[in-house]
Structure formats: structure tokens, C-alpha cells
């Protein structure tokens, strides 16, 4: 009887021991999870963006273009941004898409009214635009620098111009055309009917070259900068000069549609087609061999230089910039083609 009781006692003891062990394991597990959870909870909270307390205001510069997100302008932007970072100024790229003038001018006006410190903008040869530069920007004392497309010095009060020498560019292209085509032939120059200053400069350069070759006939075709108009004008030109050998799209935007029309009539290859690199399709056309030559500008350098000068102007208001402009490098790229 006593033995039995003892056995039962021992069993109870053992049970108690295992119970204790189990419970302590459970305890450890639960506390581990609790701690893990606590750690998670503390780290989960996101950081509230700190209110800006810096007293010293960064210089606010805006770069406005009417051809946002094109390869040419992307390069300009990257050059400009890098330079701005270097100088500790904050730069924003604004603009309109697809050569939308209205939106472009609106952005300009917003920038002026927002009293930014400086504006770098693609020049537009319209009265409204020039007015904004001359009157409004000057009224708010915001320095404006034109890039890539200049406007007549007499008309505008821009601080300076940074970009390529369009006149020289025109000459280079014309020279290339001559060297490719030969001293005789018929050339069509397709440009905008709005008399933009930079286009005129280009044409002047070309004409100067062509004038030295009397056996080269030139036809200047003016058109609106819309696809249908470009096509119809190109068609007219081809009708007028069926034997045309060379085409130059003075406004690089028109190159695409022009080539499209030409290709509709016949093979593109035998024609000598040139344009500038500041159109959205220029590079693509060049790489697919449709263009025989393209005038390459230095977009990155343009961006960089423009910012540099603007900052300089802001930091030393007394020092004035060269009104004639700062010209950047240009080179002509020739396509390697086989109909030489």
C-alpha cells in the first residue's frame, strides 16, 4: 500500500517537472516573439520629412524648353543639372512637349511671376516671347539666358546666348552637301515660314556657301511646322524641282516628315539629305541611314555653360556677360553609306 503511494508520488513529481520544462519553453518562445514584435514596431514608423530650416536660400534656376524629353534636350538637362549641383544652386527643368508654344510661353510667365533667380530658356522669335523677356523679366530683375535658339540682338534684352553658331552650322552643312553631291545639282532648303532668327542664320550660312557654286540651284521652301504642311510643301518642292538631289531641313523637326514624303516618291538613298541634331528624330534617322549627314552640336556643354554663366551673373551682378553669346562646338557627322 505504501509502495503504491510512493509510486504515485514519484509520478506526480515527474509530471510536475515536465510541466515546468514545457511551461518555461513556452515562456521563452512567447517572450522572444514579443521582443521581435517590439523591435519591429519601433522600427516601422516612417520618418517624417523634416521641415526645411535652412536660412540661406538656394538660388532657384529654371531651364525651360519647348521640346521636353527629346534626346538633344535630355543631354542639355543633364549637363545643366550637373553644373547646378556643383554650384549649390537648385535647378528645375520645365517645358512643354512637342514644340507647344502656348504651353511654353505659359511656363515662362509662371517662372517670371514665381520670381525665380534666373531663367535659361530656348529662344523663341515671337513678339509675345520677346516681350516677356524684355518687359516682364526685366521688371522683376530676373536675368534670362537664351540657349540653342537665339533671337536678334536688337530685339531682345537677354543677358546672353549660349549655343552653337548657327551661321557657321549652316555653312558646314552646305559644304558637306557640296562635297557629297558635287558642284552641280538642285537643293531644297526646307524651313519654317515663321521667320525664326536661328533658322535665318542657318540659311544665310548655307546660301553663302552655295553662292560660290553657281551651278547649284537652291529652292527655299517655307512651311508651317506641322506634319501635313511639311509633307505637302515637300511634295510641292519635289514637283517644282523633280531633279532635286539634296535636301536640307533647316528646322530639324521637319526632317522626319520630309523624309517620309521623299520616300513615298522614290528611294531615299540617292538623295543627299541633311539636317541638324536638335530634332526629336534626327539621331534615329541618322542611324538608320536615311540622313547622309547631321550637324552635331554640344548639348551637354550648352547646358553646363549656360548654368555656369547664369550663376556667375547672379553672384556678380556688376559683371556683365558677353552679349554676343558664347558659342559651343559643332561638328558634322557623316553617314557611312555606299552610294559614293
Amino acid at each position: 500500500m505504501i509502495k503504491y503511494i510512493n509510486i504515485v508520488k514519484k509520478e506526480i513529481l515527474l509530471l510536475r517537472k515536465t510541466g515546468i520544462v514545457l511551461l518555461s519553453i513556452l515562456f521563452v518562445i512567447i517572450s522572444y516573439f514579443t521582443l521581435l514584435s517590439a523591435k519591429n514596431a519601433l522600427h516601422a514608423g516612417g520618418e517624417m520629412p523634416k521641415p526645411s530650416t535652412q536660412q540661406q536660400e538656394k538660388q532657384r534656376i529654371v531651364l525651360i524648353t519647348k521640346e521636353l524629353d527629346t534626346p538633344f534636350w535630355d543631354k542639355v538637362s543633364s549637363g545643366a543639372l550637373a553644373e547646378a549641383k556643383k554650384h549649390g544652386a537648385s535647378l528645375e527643368i520645365w517645358g512643354s512637349y512637342g514644340n507647344n508654344h502656348e504651353d511654353f510661353i505659359k511656363k515662362f510667365e509662371i517662372a517670371i511671376h514665381s520670381k525665380v533667380d534666373g531663367i535659361i530658356i530656348q529662344g523663341l522669335d515671337t513678339e509675345e516671347f520677346i516681350n516677356l523677356t524684355k518687359v516682364k523679366a526685366a521688371f522683376y530683375e530676373i536675368p534670362v539666358i537664351y540657349i540653342t535658339n537665339d533671337v536678334n540682338l536688337n530685339k531682345s534684352l537677354r543677358k546672353t546666348y549660349v549655343g552653337s553658331d548657327q551661321y557657321l552650322a549652316g555653312k558646314m552643312i552646305a559644304n558637306q552637301l557640296v562635297s557629297d553631291m558635287g558642284v552641280r545639282g538642285e537643293v531644297v532648303l526646307l524651313c519654317e515660314n515663321k521667320e525664326e532668327y536661328y533658322q535665318q542664320q542657318r540659311i544665310e550660312g548655307m546660301i553663302e556657301v552655295f553662292n560660290s557654286y553657281p551651278e547649284i540651284q537652291i529652292l527655299i521652301a517655307k512651311t508651317e511646322n506641322t506634319d501635313e504642311q511639311v509633307i505637302s510643301t515637300t511634295s510641292d518642292a519635289l514637283n517644282q524641282l523633280p531633279g532635286a538631289d539634296g535636301f536640307i531641313a533647316v528646322n530639324a523637326y521637319m526632317a522626319g516628315s520630309m523624309i517620309e514624303e521623299i520616300s513615298r516618291r522614290s528611294q531615299v538613298d540617292p538623295y543627299f539629305i541633311y539636317t541638324f541634331d536638335d530634332g526629336p528624330e534626327s539621331l534615329a534617322l541618322f542611324e538608320t541611314g536615311k540622313l547622309d549627314g547631321i550637324l552635331e552640336q554640344s548639348p551637354k556643354e550648352i547646358g553646363r555653360l549656360s548654368v555656369e554663366h547664369l550663376v556667375e551673373c547672379l553672384n556678380n551682378p556688376m559683371q556683365s556677360l558677353d552679349m554676343n553669346g558664347y558659342l559651343t562646338e559643332i561638328r558634322l557627322l557623316r553617314a557611312v553609306n555606299d552610294h559614293e
Binding site: 515562456f27 520629412p49 532657384r60 520670381k115 525665380v116
Partner: protein, 467 residues
């Protein structure tokens, strides 16, 4: 638990505050838009109907716009620095344009005023647009933060649950442990008390705790130890007393016997002497010698029996006794003696041998018609002297031997087969043991039908050895 509650509430509050802050921003931006639109409307009203009340309204709107602008300026952060500065300046431009328009109006330059108004309208539109852009930026900026907040609250909920589990667990455990620490000592004490009550004073009482129960246990323990000691003391004393009583009774018995045998012996002794002489005078020499032996025996018996006598004396008495018995039993009694003369000097209590021989005579010789033989051998064994008394009688069973030897201490029990008034065998054994202080002075070898042999081992001590 309280900590948990406080913690969770704090976090909740923090989250709410953050939400509020963010909402505030949006509301402020909206305020700017509506204020600027209101300004344009009021300007328009004023330009159309230039009344004083309109002007007041206009001024009021201007103030609203200014207030909104100031509020907005606090919202600057790293992400929207540029846009916000533009925004603020736009508001400024709007105000300036409005003022210019008013100036023109006051100078009655309607055209100029209208132009400025148009510009103001345009700016107001720009402001509305920019508000949307800003809100968009804000949303993007704070999206991360929102996600963080949501994540955190989820984690906090989980944490809350785990904590609750943990807390319940811990509480249960603590409660259990606590109650155990109270009940366990009490249980142990109860058990110990139970043991004591049952009379088991051997188990030690030990309780490990630091409270009153432990104190109680200690006192219990002391009590137990004391009781134990008392009990053993009582036992010892009882034992001693018992032994003492034994000895006393033994002594008394012997004394009593001795006294008894002393009462009439003097008279008897004298009578015997007279008889002996008379017998001798009447010519019965044998009778006379017999009477002398009897007298000698009697005289010996008169002496105090608790003093030590020499073995020599005992043997002499023995011989006298045997003479008497021979006279009674004649041929039936045959005694053979082998006695070593050298060891008769040892001392032993008086009247030791005679009762043994008497026993032998009574059991071995008397009942039998043919009688019996008795051997008496006394040998010197260096350390002790052996006295062997052997007979051919009916013998005793082992039980009987044990009975006698063990009951030597119990004088109340007397062998039924010893109806004599003489000193019993047990008495002899007991006295021998007491005299020498050892138990095995006497040994009985016997078997039923094989006779009985009583062996006395008398130790030779230096005191016993006469110089």
C-alpha cells in the same frame, strides 16, 4: 499592463498627430487657392462697381491671401523647397498685380487696370494649377511616410497581442509561484505535525522559507528533539531501574531463602549434634558419621551465601552431601570424581555446586529403579577452571535448556519440576553471572534421553588466585 496601455495610447496619439499634421498641409494649400480665387472675384467686383464696401471686401481678401501665404511658408521641407518658394512668390506677384490694377484704376487708366486684372487672373489660375502640383508632390513625399505609419500600427497591434499573452502568462506564473510559496511551508508543517502526532519522532523537520512558518517549524523541531531525548532518558532510566530491581529481588530472594534456612537451623544443628553423639554412644558409627555430615552441611548453609568461598570448601560440602545421599540411595547412586587439586583455590559464590548435584540426583537417580551415575570433573584450563557435572538421566530438551538459562534472570518463574525449597538452578546461574559479570559461566549440554552435562567455566582472575 499599465505600461502597455500607456505605450499603446502614446503611439496612437502620435499617429493621429502625424495624420493631422499632414492633413493640415493639404488644407493650407487649398486655402491659398480659394483665397486667391476670392481675391480675383473681389477685384473684379470692385473694378466693375468701385464702392467702399467692395473695396473693404477686397482688402479683406488681400489679408486672407497674405495669411495663407505666411501659413504656407511653414510647410517648407527638403523635397518641395523649390516649388514652394515659387508658390509663395506667385502669391506675392498676385498681390502686386492686384495692387497695380488698383493703382491704375485710381488713376482712371481703365486699359492698364484691365490689363493688370487679366494678368492677375492668369496668375490666379497658375496658382490653382501649382496647388495641384504641390499636392501631388506632397502625396508622393508622404506616401512613404503613410506606409510607415500603417506598418507601424499593424506591428503595434501585433505587439499588443504578444504582450498581452506574455503578461497573462507571467501573471499566472507569478500568482502560482506566490501561492505555492505560502501553501507549501504550511503543508510541510502539517505533515510534520502529523508525523509527530503518530509518534514518529525520528524525522527531522525542516522548512526552507523566510517567514513565520519557518520559525514555527524550528520550534517544532526543537520540541521534537527534546521529546526524543526525554524518551531515551526515560528508557534508560527504566532499564536501569529494572536491572536494579532485578538485582534487589534476587538478593532479597537469596536473603529470604537464606534467612528462611537460617531460622531453624541452629536448633536443628544442635539437635543433629546431639543425635550424632547419641548414635555414636549407642554404637551406630555409621549413623553418627552421617549425622555429622548433615550437621556440616547445615552449618555450611548457615553461613551467608553471598560471600565468596573457595572451590575447595565447595567440594568438601559436596562430598558431605554426597555421603548423605549415598546413605539414602546406597547402590543406586554412583559418583565418580576427577578433581585437579591445583585449581581449588579459585573463588566462587557459595552453594553453587550443591544445587546442581542435587538436580542431577533428583532427575537422574531418584526416578530410576536402577539409579544412575554422576561424574564430577574439575579441570584446570589455564584461563578458567572447568567444573563438569554429568549424569545419565533423562536429559532435557534444547528448549528446556534455553528456558533455564534465559530465565535465570527471572526469579519469579520457578521450574515446576523443582518442588524443593532449596535454591533453584536458575538462582545458581544468576548468581554466577552476577558474581563474575559474564554471561557464559555456565553451559548445559543435554539431549532427551542422553543425560545432562552441566559445565561451569570459572574464570581465573588475579584476585581469585590466592598468592
Amino acid at each position: 499592463m499599465a505600461m502597455m496601455w500607456i505605450g499603446l495610447t502614446y503611439y496612437n496619439q502620435k499617429t493621429q498627430n502625424q495624420y493631422n499634421e499632414i492633413l493640415q498641409r493639404y488644407l493650407l494649400m487649398n486655402e491659398v487657392t480659394s483665397a486667391s480665387q476670392q481675391l480675383i472675384t473681389d477685384l473684379n467686383n470692385y473694378l466693375i462697381t468701385p464702392t467702399k464696401s467692395n473695396l473693404n471686401r477686397l482688402e479683406f481678401s488681400k489679408e486672407q491671401v497674405t495669411t495663407a501665404k505666411i501659413d504656407i511658408m511653414d510647410l517648407k521641407n527638403a523635397d518641395n523647397d523649390f516649388a514652394l518658394s515659387n508658390y509663395v512668390n506667385l502669391i506675392e506677384s498676385l498681390k502686386e498685380t492686384t495692387n497695380r490694377s488698383l493703382t491704375f484704376k485710381s488713376e482712371n487708366d481703365t486699359e492698364g487696370s484691365a490689363k493688370e486684372f487679366n494678368e492677375a487672373t492668369r496668375i490666379s489660375k497658375y496658382i490653382s494649377e501649382m496647388t495641384l502640383t504641390l499636392l501631388d508632390t506632397e502625396l508622393k513625399t508622404y506616401e512613404r511616410f503613410y506606409r510607415g505609419i500603417i506598418e507601424q500600427s499593424v506591428q503595434l497591434k501585433k505587439l499588443g497581442l504578444w504582450l498581452m499573452l506574455l503578461m497573462s502568462f507571467v501573471l499566472l506564473f507569478v500568482t502560482y509561484w506566490f501561492s505555492r510559496s505560502i501553501t507549501r511551508p504550511v503543508q510541510e508543517l502539517t505533515e510534520a505535525a502529523n508525523e509527530l502526532a503518530k509518534g514518529r519522532f525520528d524525522r527531522q523537520i525542516k522548512i526552507e522559507s523566510n517567514d513565520e512558518i519557518s520559525f514555527l517549524a524550528k520550534t517544532f523541531e526543537r520540541m521534537r528533539v527534546n521529546i526524543n531525548n526525554l524518551i531515551s532518558d526515560i528508557h534508560e532510566k527504566a532499564q536501569l531501574e529494572y536491572e536494579l530491581q532485578q538485582s534487589k529481588l534476587l538478593l532479597k530472594e537469596s536473603q529470604l531463602k537464606s534467612l528462611q534456612s537460617q531460622i531453624n537451623p541452629h536448633f536443628l544443628y544442635n539437635t543433629l549434634n546431639t543425635l550424632s553423639k547419641k548414635a555414636y554412644l549407642e554404637g551406630s558409627e555409621e549413623t553418627s558419621e552421617l549425622l555429622v555430615s548433615v550437621a556440616g552441611l547445615l552449618r555450611y548453609n548457615l553461613k551467608r551465601i553471598d560471600r565468596a568461598v573457595t572451590l575447595e570448601e565447595e567440594v568438601t560440602v559436596l562430598k558431605q552431601y554426597l555421603d548423605i545421599q549415598k546413605a539414602r540411595f546406597t547402590d543406586r547412586l554412583n559418583v565418580f570424581m576427577e578433581i585437579d587439586e591445583n585449581c581449588l583455590r579459585v573463588k566462587l559464590p557459595g552453594l553453587t555446586l550443591q544445587p546442581i548435584i542435587e538436580n542431577a540426583v533428583i532427575h537422574a537417580v531418584e526416578p530410576d529403579e536402577d539409579g544412575g551415575r554422576i561424574w564430577i570433573k574439575i579441570k584446570n584450563n589455564t584461563d578458567y577452571v572447568t567444573v563438569e557435572i554429568e549424569d545419565e538421566g533423562p536429559g532435557m530438551t534444547e528448549d528446556q535448556i534455553q528456558h533455564i538459562l534465559l530465565n535465570a534472570g527471572n526469579i519469579i518463574e520457578q521450574s515446576v519440576s523443582e518442588p524443593s525449597t532449596g535454591i533453584g538452578f536458575s538462582n545458581v546461574v544468576k548468581r554466577l553471572r552476577l558474581f563474575y559479570g559474564v554471561e557464559d559461566v555456565i553451559e548445559v549440554v543435554s539431549g532427551k534421553g542422553y543425560g545432562t552435562k552441566v559445565i561451569l567455566k570459572i574464570p581465573i582472575h588475579e584476585e581469585n588466585e590466592p598468592k
